[in-house]
Symmetry: C2
Subunit: 357 residues, 2 copies
Amino acid sequence: MEKENLMNAVVADVTARRKGGRKTGGFTLRDVAKLAGVAPITASRALNTPDAVSAKVLQKVQAAVAQTGYVPNLLAGALASQKSRLVAAVVPTLSGPMFLETVEALTDTLAGAGYQVMLGQSGYENSREDALLDAIIGRRPDGIVLTGITRSPQARRRLLASGIPVVETWDLTPTPVDMLVGFSHEKIGAAVAQYLHAKGKKRVAAISGDDERSRRRATAFSEAAVRLGMALPQETDIPACLVTAPTTLGNGRSGLRELLQRAPDIDAVFCSSDLLALGLMIEAQASGIAIPRQLAVIGLGDLSFSRDLQPPLTTVRIDGTAIGSTAARFIIARSEGKSVAEPICDLGFTIIERASV
Amino acid sequence: MEKENLMNAVVADVTARRKGGRKTGGFTLRDVAKLAGVAPITASRALNTPDAVSAKVLQKVQAAVAQTGYVPNLLAGALASQKSRLVAAVVPTLSGPMFLETVEALTDTLAGAGYQVMLGQSGYENSREDALLDAIIGRRPDGIVLTGITRSPQARRRLLASGIPVVETWDLTPTPVDMLVGFSHEKIGAAVAQYLHAKGKKRVAAISGDDERSRRRATAFSEAAVRLGMALPQETDIPACLVTAPTTLGNGRSGLRELLQRAPDIDAVFCSSDLLALGLMIEAQASGIAIPRQLAVIGLGDLSFSRDLQPPLTTVRIDGTAIGSTAARFIIARSEGKSVAEPICDLGFTIIERASV
DNA sequence: TTGAAAGCGCTAACAC
DNA sequence: GTGTTAGCGCTTTCAA
């Protein structure tokens, strides 16, 4: 049979290639094309732009693909077309559950458009960031999504020089490297102070991770609190209790203990994450402090568990999913040659009122 | 000056390339080589195997790199060398915090060896898995790390045919596709039953996510419980209370309520995740049930918060970090041409005794 | 609608 | 130690 002979010939080709020098992979587009009796470029078109070939050719190519189990080499395609369909995402760490939603939404939205996400962890100190950036740029992704804004001029220059679309997230700045999807940490701090003040709180404090963004929220919170005439713990210059990032439940417990020593009469605490807030609630319960009657708590993140706590946790909701999917859309648009009309996007935040305040 | 002329010439080259047809990227290895006055391959060696070139050449190439800001195109390198230094990781979802540690350890360990991680989310139903697999294989990663074992024969065949090293994780099977790093869910179920029995518990139940692995743990738990003479809730055939995966704190609360209706006299509950256990503890506290006096709880995962709960949570510890770093080592070894001596690795588990039982 | 030629930017293999 | 040659597997451009 003709068809069998062809297949045998192609298999022989592959085997020969494997032996002769480099042990190169399996079937290639050329093999598929040969089997289908067309030129490689035609097979390529059948796979990438099926509308551009005749029904007959399409069918023959599809048959050849099925027969061989051919999977296109996207590396080669990327090299030739200058489109890698790869997007890099850089987070400080995965384990603070804050960025998870964003990475998840990013991955899902991009996967729907045929892109894959490459993950990078920078750590909270930006030391590894430069090396990471080179590793990323070297792969020529179609986009880079960064958590936080880029401070190092070195990194900014490299990003700019690469010409790769960049989305900075989880923060706001008038001078982004390229595009931006975030919200204002300062406004959150101020809004929380205002909220607690409106609820009649008089002596407030913050338990805050000591990463840069949390500190800015805590500072804004303290300044607004003072402006509104609320009292802060006085024993120290720092108006907040700082714990190491990423924040944990244990930090929340020890944070409350420390806070109560410094200022036993506080009536509200702003925690820089819901996990901290949960720790605080557990510690409060263990020490017989009633929430919200004796002490009000407000967290940040609106993690999935927050609504189900006892009492349900009042918190600042940040829509991590929207950040991820917006960033994905920005990158996809750019990568398809469209320019993004409004490349700076403030997604804001919402204070979710529940029973803990 | 000679040097400046050279640089100008090279820049002119790049500009010409950009105009003439394809708007190709920035500096290439050829430009760097030209600037350094050596052949491209020599520049390549200076970058990849610095020991293989003279000090003089090395210095000249490094100068040229610094001058141009050249970042090697790893896509092209991968195509030529058949080594992508990319590893794919597939998880059902990122948001159950169980797999986070694994992904984190994988990313970190691989980054140390110059590899990047590509992330894929398969969802708990394996429908998207086949498409995802093709997208992954198409990028010719040097390794694929899967969460769970691969059941679909279709997927197994494709993985095998690809010739890419595969590590299946978070489970055990005598017939892995390739390599395996995991533990036995059946043994966990049995061990927990045994543990509760040893603690004098008589009427036990399980609250379990309804994903495949959790169900197997719950089943093994129930069977062992019966064998040991403990009572299970009787109203239903299912010996456990199933909640939708991924498990949440809210599920834990509602799970306990449901369980208490069916069997008000239970004295111990095995939760398929620490998050469920936390929900159960919160619900118990809200209903005035004392833990562990009236009801003992054991979770699974030993998440970072578990030790800090009130009471601290007894749980089954699974070393997600070890799974990730072992998988990474397996892949690195393979990808360096070494064969992995013992490619099936049972990392086991530990019951961490705390106060909740 | 299809194809031939010419690369994408790099490295393996084999000289020198 | 360094260079020459010839691809890796695909897509672009241009011609038929």
